[in-house]
Symmetry: C2
DNA sequence: TTTAGCACTCGAATGCAGTGAGTGCTAACA
DNA sequence: TGTTAGCACTCACTGCATTCGAGTGCTAAA
């Protein structure tokens, strides 16, 4: 078990290192107001903390830096909740002052505020559509052979795609099809669309539409709404200011990883309540070895929608970032719920 | 006027430097198969070329590198057209093999192919909407107080935004409004929407809709479709592999510049026929001093739509990049025209 | 148990010769 | 007269020795 003094010293070292990015020596610690012991005493405790795995030495004549375990302990046990300053609150509210027009715009703006406030990289996983239900479907003819198919979900998301319309289908048939689809599919979860169309709705169509088979064929590809949710980034260049990313190869590794949609998606998808902090190798990704990821979920009307997060060096201002992520995820939930709460 | 030998030497130096990123010395030039003169002769010509401003010396005991003027001359006078290899053509066609569903997806995919093929940064300015005309308008009620307004243009672009619906407006009125709007606004250029609604359409609405004023107020903010077109990027991390961007500060400057939407927009917006090559300071941006930008426009049915471009170091493979940009802009034009040609 | 003192470690910074690729100039050559 | 060989000169880069200093671990005294 750690003594009170050891805790104090660990706390001081992590704080100092987060601020300065330089290995922390016993002397500089001893100068702090909240520390009353001599450097020698501190050195003894530091040696113990190192033996226990909370601290590391870059080399024998340097100060100590926190190990991954050290950060973990710091986050789990030593961190005091952070109260945002008035300015910070104002920054966050700015998202909601703008006239809100599109979910995407809100999400993107959130990402930007998040990265500006923290100087790290922000990631926002866009609203999940898997569980959302269909609100409306439209087919707008564009030219002889093509049309635009538009899906609107109950969460206000709009999906659109071009479809090829066989010549044999007449305008009136198209209209009738849209009416039938709206009648039968309103409220159906997107992931069930495909099945529903091929069974129940298919039968109805058969009775009302002349060129039934072509219509079904035309619709088929559009109904696989398995499009993965978008991940929005902001502040990618922020890491270039972090001393741990002086090395261009590390930067490249990290930025390349962020472009791997599948992986990033997987990392952000897992829903969880509250704040999740993943430190260094806990992320199970080589490119993230020197990084920590702090995430929180947001939802609409209690239904999990997506994730917001901050990616920064393990030497990250955990206190502030956790505060900001927490508030923003809650505010986002409130805003989106107000906007799209099924009435 | 430059002698033939000087041209040959200039050509060789630019080619060599583009390949190696190292200052080119007289000896290495003399070893090339197409060069039959001694290093001393070459040195004389190099001195002349330097005096004329086509070459520069990093320092007195290094080889020569092309100056901005040198690149300019190379691009304008020495460049042979590049014929794509079968593989390259295949890469480009891959854009069109995928099932096309959204303009945005095509654009984004184009950007990716472009950056993959060139190992530089690709930029694509999304379709301009200023001149496009309205094809269809829809208002989909979402909850008690909100609805989604959807605009579809003749180029297949779909724009959507959330609007607040005053309680006083009834569903039947909303429906009637949509019908009137579609009747009166079909074919109207987006930039005229606002005026048209307030004059002509306003009068019609007044006669048919009970809560006429509220409806107009609700629509007003949505009709200012002055949303700037999106710029898509791909391969931002590619510059990290370029030796001229070893310096992290330069990388940061450049990447930050790319996030300044307004500036980038301005740079890409100017329409021009054929390929445009802007070298170094011709870009009038400090962050682009070491960069060249190669752009071409794409259009739909002869109407200018947007711009694709490649941003790389001034030491760029101009020949290949120009070839790729040329082909892709033409193919994109063909594809989009086929898709959305007003029929 | 804490602290002062001291020898020790090791990375970072500094200074200095040696190396080599490249140049400019001059004089000889075709 | 244009081309080339020869040579002194420049200058970044490398390797090596040296110094400097922040920080440690250990021991002995308070």
């Amino acid at each position: 078990m750690l003594t009170d003094r050891q805790l104090l010293i660990l706390h001081a070292i992590v704080d100092d290192y987060i601020r300065s990015a330089e290995p922390v020596g016993s002397r500089s610690i001893s100068k702090r107001d909240d520390i009353t012991f001599s450097p020698a005493t501190i050195r003894n405790d530091m040696a113990d903390l190192e033996e226990l795995g909370f601290l590391e030495k870059p080399h024998s004549s340097a100060g100590r830096i926190p190990s991954q375990k050290g950060y973990r302990y710091y986050v789990d046990n030593l961190l005091m909740p952070h109260h945002l300053t008035a300015d910070e609150e104002l920054d966050i509210r700015s998202i909601f002052n703008e006239r809100i027009q599109e979910v995407e715009a809100v999400i993107q703006h959130s990402a930007r505020v998040l990265s500006n406030m923290t100087s790290y990289i922000s990631l926002v996983l866009g609203p999940e559509m898997f569980e959302t239900t269909l609100r409306n479907i439209q087919i707008i003819p564009l030219s002889k052979g093509s049309a635009i198919l538009i899906l609107v979900t109950d969460t206000g998301h709009v999906e659109n795609q071009t479809i090829a319309v066989p010549e044999s289908i007449e305008a009136s048939d198209l209209e009738r099809t849209v009416n039938i689809l709206n009648e039968r599919l309103m409220g159906v979860p997107l992931y069930k669309l495909r099945d529903k169309v091929h069974t129940e709705v298919g039968n109805v169509l058969r009775n009302h539409i002349k060129d039934y088979e072509h219509v079904l064929k035309m619709l088929a590809p559009s109904l696989d709404v398995e499009k993965p949710e978008k991940v929005f980034y902001s502040g990618k260049t922020n890491i270039l200011s972090q001393p741990e990313f002086r090395d261009i190869d590390k930067v490249r590794m990290l930025l390349n990883m962020l472009e791997e949609d599948k992986t990033m998606h997987q990392i952000l998808r897992s829903p969880h309540s509250g704040i999740q902090v993943k430190i260094g190798q806990e992320n199970k990704l080589e490119a993230f070895d020197n990084c920590s990821l702090i995430t929180a979920s947001y939802s609409i009307g209690g239904k999990h929608m997506g994730t917001i997060g901050i990616l920064g060096p393990t030497r990250m201002e955990y206190r502030r970032v956790i505060g900001v992520v927490d508030i923003l995820s809650k505010d986002l939930t409130k805003l989106l719920t107000n906007l799209y709460q099924r009435g």
